[in-house]
């Protein structure tokens, strides 16, 4: 039986993520945990995250989970969601903090100057709602999901990888931005699969079956 741990560092709606995984993988053991030993023993690790990047980084460290998350990202199927994607990178404009620096790149805010729709109206920030994800390459986590499918987003910052080969999905909101990345055992998304209806559930089901 596969054991998946949703890392609990006090940020965000972790139960939604756990419930969605339970829904697609009823045979799996799904735990929401802040225990480093339990995270280390998991077969798969999910790092969600909501709210401000500086708070997330502070809480992760305060709970002594930084190391175990970095280790999980190096060795087992790892899914990052929202801030769980952003924290894989380096400098974040929000609060001027550093992420885990697992991948080279930065986390800027949507630039005001570019926040204009084709019809001239102002684009709101946060980017909130259902937007399309263009799949850059085939990946086991995209299996059964149409290219251009819509997922639910809510964020004001986005990742800018320095190595374009990690980009797995891209979305347009004023500017094109990276909405999914993949490298070896890591897959991470800016949107919320746990809130993205059938396509989101499919992505989570794919993650639970994934053997990178």
């Amino acid at each position: 039986m596969s054991k998946v741990v949703v890392v609990d560092y006090g940020m965000g709606n972790l139960r939604s993520v756990a419930k969605a995984i339970e829904h697609v993988a009823p045979e799996a053991e799904v735990r929401v945990s802040a225990d480093a030993a339990e995270i280390a023993a998991a077969d798969r690790v999910v790092v969600p995250g909501q709210g401000a990047m500086p708070d997330c980084m502070r809480e992760l460290s305060a709970r002594g989970l930084r190391e175990v998350v970095v280790r999980a990202a190096a060795e087992k199927p790892f899914l990052g969601i929202c801030v769980g994607l952003q924290m894989l990178f380096g400098h974040a404009e929000e609060g001027d903090v550093m992420g885990l620096e697992i991948l080279p790149g930065t986390v800027p805010r949507f630039p005001d100057a570019a926040m204009v729709a084709p019809d001239g109206t102002r684009l709101k920030v946060p980017h909130m709602g259902w937007n399309q994800v263009q799949q850059v390459d085939a990946h086991p986590l995209w299996d059964g999901i149409a290219d251009g499918a819509r997922f639910y987003f809510v964020h004001s910052y986005y990742v800018e990888p320095q190595t374009p080969e990690v980009i797995a999905g891209s979305t347009h909101y004023g500017i094109p931005f990276t909405s999914a990345i993949a490298r070896a055992n890591i897959f991470a998304v800016q949107f919320h699969p746990e809130k993205s209806a059938q396509d989101g559930l499919r992505l989570l089901a794919n993650f639970m079956r994934w053997n990178p």
Binding site: R15, K124, P126, Y173
Partner: protein, 252 residues
């Protein structure tokens, strides 16, 4: 491109979905979990629950409903009604809500908006504004279900809650609510153009054209409706197909 959202709204009283007729009689419209599932299947982009339970004894029922819905429906859930303190926000989020709406409490204590958004993030905080036209081109904020005039200018108040940390505004025209005469377009547009956060138009939807008008004329980012969906007049899918036929980007 980002899709415009269609959000069915469920008024919940002591565990049942109800709909007022002429603001008084409450008609039973069914089981909240069952109705939420049906809207999800029809392609609703989010679901909003408004808890109108009067008795404080029954206030926790909404938490159980949110829990039940959140384990079966995997789209964003917003819950409002009776939120008075940060602790209420936290309890609803823990039960499975993604966003929490506040109205009267935000007017009485604007600091609540700031405290709640600092604690759980702006993206979780929706400020509901009930506005009524008091002079041509002027809308004032009403609280207590539309009974009490605060004297606040609705557009100014929207800007203020944005600066306090609200992540979204749910704007209801009290003049239009329940009339099926369509959104109050000038009000919607004035607020939507005044703030940089998303605005949900509410109050008055009677036809699918009204929904489209809220987006194209009112410049709303999302449209909310209750009765046209509850009684099977239209499905959410029909609403989306109609909006698409009017050139509006939707998730179908």
């Amino acid at each position: 491109m980002l899709a415009k959202r269609i959000i069915p709204c469920l008024d919940v009283n002591a565990g049942r979905v109800v709909k007022g007729i002429n603001f008084v009689q409450l008609r039973d419209a069914g089981d909240p979990v069952e109705i939420a599932r049906r809207y999800d299947e029809q392609g609703a982009d989010e679901i909003t629950f408004l808890d109108i339970t009067a008795s404080s004894d029954d206030r926790d029922i909404i938490l159980h409903i949110v829990e039940a819905v959140a384990s079966q429906v995997f789209i964003p859930l917003t819950v409002g009604g009776g939120v008075r303190q940060v602790e209420d926000v936290r309890r609803l989020l823990n039960a499975g809500a993604d966003k929490v709406g506040m109205n009267t409490a935000a007017v009485n204590n604007p600091q609540l908006v700031a405290d709640a958004s600092a604690k759980v993030g702006s993206q979780c905080i929706v400020v509901a504004i009930d506005a009524k036209e008091t002079a041509p081109g002027r809308w004032e904020v009403f609280t207590h279900g539309g009974r009490k005039n605060t004297g606040l200018d609705a557009v100014e108040w929207a800007r203020k809650v944005e600066s306090l940390g609200a992540g979204e505004i749910l704007l209801t025209s009290m003049d239009r609510d329940g009339t099926k005469a369509g959104f109050n377009i000038p009000l919607t547009r004035a607020v939507a153009e005044a703030v940089g956060i998303p605005v949900i138009a509410s109050g008055g939807v009677g036809t699918l054209q009204h929904l489209a008008d809220g987006v194209t004329e009112g410049k709303a980012d999302a449209v909310l409706a209750a009765s046209i969906f509850h009684y099977g007049e239209f499905t959410v899918r029909q609403a989306k197909e109609f909006m698409r036929s009017r050139g509006i980007e939707v998730r179908l």
